[in-house]
C-alpha cells in the first residue's frame, strides 16, 4: 500500500496510507493528514486514487501545493515525489501494490483527468480571487469592474452635424450619414460611416476607422485608439471633443 510520509525539517511526523479513501490535507482537524501551521489552508489539498493512479489536487489554497518544486493544481504522483505544503514536506513512498487499486464503483462517469502540460485550465471564482490576490502587489486593487462610471460625451466644435452634443450610451456609436449613425453628418458627400466609437466592457471608449480614418489630437490613428477626456477627434470635416463627466 502506498503511503505519504509527513516531514518537517527532515523529522518524520507521521505517515498516512493511501487506499481507496482519499487523503485530505490541511490545517483543520478533520483532515486525514493534519498540518497545524499558519502557512497551510484549512482544506489545502488531497491525494486520491483514480484508476490506479495516485493523484494530488490543490484546493486553490492560498500558498499553493508544490511537487518537486513546481506549483501544481492537479497532478499524478510518482513514488519518490516530494510534495511541499507550507513548510512541510510529504514524501510519496514506493509500492508495487499501486496497480491493484483500480477504479471501482464509478461506472462510466467521466472524472477530471490531470491536465497535461499546455492544456487549458479554468479557474473558478474562488480560485480566481485567490490567484489574483497572489499576483497583485500588496495594496493594489485588482478589480476588473470599473470603480465609477463616468458619462461620455462628444461636443462638436466644428462642422455640420444634427446636434451640438451627444451623450454616448451605446456599445457602438457611428459617425456618418447612415441610418445607424448617432452623430449624423450632413452634406452630400458625407460618408455613410466615417468612424465608429466602441464602448468596451470596462467602459473605456475606443475610436476606430470605418470609411475614413479619424485623427485624435492631430494624429491619424493607426488602429482603434482609447479616448481620454479632452481628446479632439477630427473626421470627415468635423471636429469633436471627447469629454468624460461625472
Amino acid at each position: 500500500m502506498p503511503k505519504l510520509t509527513l516531514k518537517f525539517d527532515n523529522a518524520i511526523l507521521g505517515e498516512v496510507p493511501v487506499g481507496t479513501r482519499e487523503v485530505s490535507i490541511g490545517r483543520s482537524p478533520d483532515n486525514a493528514m493534519v498540518i497545524d501551521n499558519p502557512a497551510v489552508s484549512h482544506y489545502h489539498a488531497r491525494v486520491f486514487n483514480e484508476e490506479g493512479r495516485m493523484m494530488l489536487e490543490d484546493f486553490g489554497s492560498m500558498n499553493g501545493t508544490f511537487v518537486n518544486g513546481q506549483r501544481v493544481k492537479m497532478v499524478m504522483l510518482n513514488p519518490g515525489d516530494c510534495v511541499t505544503v507550507g513548510k512541510h514536506t510529504i514524501v510519496v513512498s514506493d509500492s508495487r501494490e499501486l496497480d491493484g487499486f483500480a477504479a471501482s464503483g464509478n461506472g462510466g462517469a467521466a472524472k477530471p483527468a490531470a491536465p497535461k502540460i499546455n492544456e487549458t485550465v479554468m479557474l473558478d471564482t474562488k480560485e480566481r480571487r485567490e490567484f489574483l490576490q497572489k499576483v497583485a502587489a500588496v495594496g493594489e486593487s485588482v478589480q476588473v469592474a470599473p470603480a465609477r462610471v463616468k458619462v461620455a460625451t462628444l461636443v462638436v466644435r466644428n462642422g455640420k452635424t444634427d446636434r451640438k452634443e451627444y451623450t454616448l450610451t451605446d456599445k457602438l456609436t457611428v459617425v456618418g450619414k447612415s441610418a445607424l449613425a448617432t452623430v449624423k453628418l450632413k452634406g452630400w458627400f458625407a460618408p455613410k460611416a466615417a468612424a465608429q466609437i466602441n464602448r468596451r466592457e470596462d467602459n473605456s471608449y475606443f475610436i476606430g476607422a470605418a470609411d475614413k480614418t479619424p485623427s485624435v489630437n492631430g494624429n491619424a490613428i493607426a488602429h482603434p485608439t482609447k479616448l481620454s477626456s479632452g481628446d479632439v477627434i477630427a473626421v470627415a470635416g468635423i471636429e469633436m471633443e471627447f469629454v468624460l463627466r461625472d
Binding site: 481507496t20 479513501r21 482519499e22 485530505s24 486525514a32 488531497r46 486520491f48 486514487n49 477504479a103 471501482s104 464503483g105 464509478n106 462517469a109 467521466a110 472524472k111 477530471p112 483527468a113 490531470a114 499546455n118 492544456e119 487549458t120 485550465v121 479554468m122 479557474l123 473558478d124 471564482t125 480566481r128 490567484f131 499576483v135 485588482v142 476588473v144 450610451t169 451605446d170 456599445k171 457602438l172 457611428v174 447612415s178 445607424l180 460611416a193 465608429q196 466602441n198 464602448r199 468596451r200 466592457e201 476607422a209 470605418a210 470609411d211 488602429h223 482603434p224
Partner: protein, 299 residues
C-alpha cells in the same frame, strides 16, 4: 419561418469553415456551427478529460444556435442573465444564448445549479462520484451579422479577428490570466507567451453558475473579412500569416482550408478550427451567396 426585419442581414456574407484534430491530439474538442440564415457563426473549444471537452464544446455551439433560432421565432423568449445597457437586441440575445450554454455545460458537468450550490467534492464519497463535478468547460466566440452591424461575443481565449482595408485586428481580448496581466501592465506580451501559466483562463463556460460574456458591436463594411478561431490556430500562426492567407485566398472556404493546412505544417499541436466570413455587397433582401453549410467537428 420568421420574416421579421432584424432576422434579415442586408449585407451579403460568404463563409467557409474547417475543424481539424491537429497532429498531436487524439480527439477534436473543438466544435463549430454556422447558421447563415441567422448571420450567426459560433465556435467553441472544449476542456476536460476523456470526452468531456468534445461534449462541452458541442453542447455550447448547439445551445447558442438553438437559443438564437428560438428567439427569432419567438421574440418574447426570456433572456438568460442580465441584459447589457446600450447593446442592441441582437447582442443581448447572443449574450443570453451564451448564458444558456453555460448552464447546459454546467448541468452536463454534474453541477446542480437549481440547488444554488455545486455538488461539491466530498471527502468521504470519492469512489461513488455520481454527482461530483466532472471538470468540463469550454470557450466560446460567436459573431452575428444584423443590418450593417455585427455582434461579437466571447468567453475565454478563442478569438475573432477582422481584416479591413489592410488592417488585421484582433476584435476580442483573451480572458486568460496572462492576457489580463499584460493589460494591467504587469507583464509584457513576450513574457506572457513564455509563461507556464499562459493556458490558465479567467473565464470559461461550465465553471461558475453565471458567466460574464464580453460583447462588442462593430459596423460591418463591404470587403471586411472575419476569422473566428480556436487557440490551436494562433499558437502555430502569427497574425501576419493569418492575414496573408485571407488576402490571398480565392474564397472563404479556401482560406479556412489553407489556415488549417498551414497550422498543421507548423506543428498542429492542438485542435485547429477556423471560420472565415467575408462581407460582400448589399443585396436586395435575403442572403445572396451562401457558402457551404457545415456543422459539427468538420469531419
Amino acid at each position: 419561418m420568421s420574416t421579421t426585419a432584424k432576422a434579415m442581414t442586408p449585407v451579403m456574407i460568404e463563409f467557409g469553415a474547417r475543424s481539424d484534430v491537429g497532429r498531436m491530439r487524439e480527439n477534436n474538442e473543438d466544435s463549430f456551427r454556422a447558421a447563415p440564415e441567422l448571420g450567426l457563426f459560433i465556435l467553441s473549444d472544449g476542456m476536460g478529460g476523456l470526452e468531456a471537452g468534445e461534449v462541452a464544446s458541442k453542447l455550447t455551439v448547439e445551445t447558442v444556435f438553438a437559443h438564437c433560432r428560438d428567439a427569432e421565432a419567438s421574440p418574447d423568449l426570456p433572456y438568460e442573465g442580465e441584459q447589457l445597457a446600450g447593446a442592441s437586441e441582437t447582442s443581448n440575445r447572443l449574450a443570453s444564448a451564451i448564458q444558456a450554454a453555460n448552464k447546459v455545460v454546467r448541468a452536463a458537468a454534474g453541477f446542480d445549479d437549481a440547488d444554488g450550490r455545486a455538488a461539491e467534492r466530498d471527502a468521504d464519497t470519492v469512489g461513488t462520484a455520481t454527482s461530483a463535478p466532472k471538470g468540463m468547460g469550454a470557450t466560446v466566440v460567436a459573431v452575428q451579422f444584423f443590418g450593417e452591424r455585427v455582434s461579437v461575443a466571447h468567453v475565454g481565449d478563442s478569438r475573432a479577428y477582422r481584416l479591413r482595408g489592410g488592417e488585421f485586428l484582433q476584435l476580442t481580448e483573451d480572458h486568460s490570466l496572462v492576457a489580463q496581466q499584460v493589460r494591467e501592465g504587469r507583464m509584457t506580451a513576450s513574457e506572457a507567451e513564455a509563461s507556464p501559466l499562459k493556458n490558465v483562463l479567467m473565464r470559461a463556460l461550465g465553471v461558475d453558475a453565471a458567466v460574464e460574456v464580453e460583447v462588442d458591436e462593430e459596423i460591418a463594411i463591404e470587403g471586411d473579412a472575419y476569422v473566428l478561431c480556436s487557440d490551436g490556430l494562433t499558437r502555430e500562426l502569427t497574425d501576419g500569416q493569418i492575414a496573408a492567407v485571407l488576402t490571398e485566398a480565392v474564397n472563404p472556404q479556401n482560406a479556412a482550408d489553407r489556415l488549417i493546412e498551414l497550422a498543421n505544417a507548423a506543428g498542429g499541436g492542438d485542435n485547429i478550427t477556423a471560420i472565415v466570413v467575408r462581407v460582400g455587397a448589399k443585396s436586395g433582401g435575403t442572403l445572396g451567396k451562401i457558402g457551404r453549410w457545415i456543422t459539427g467537428n468538420g469531419n
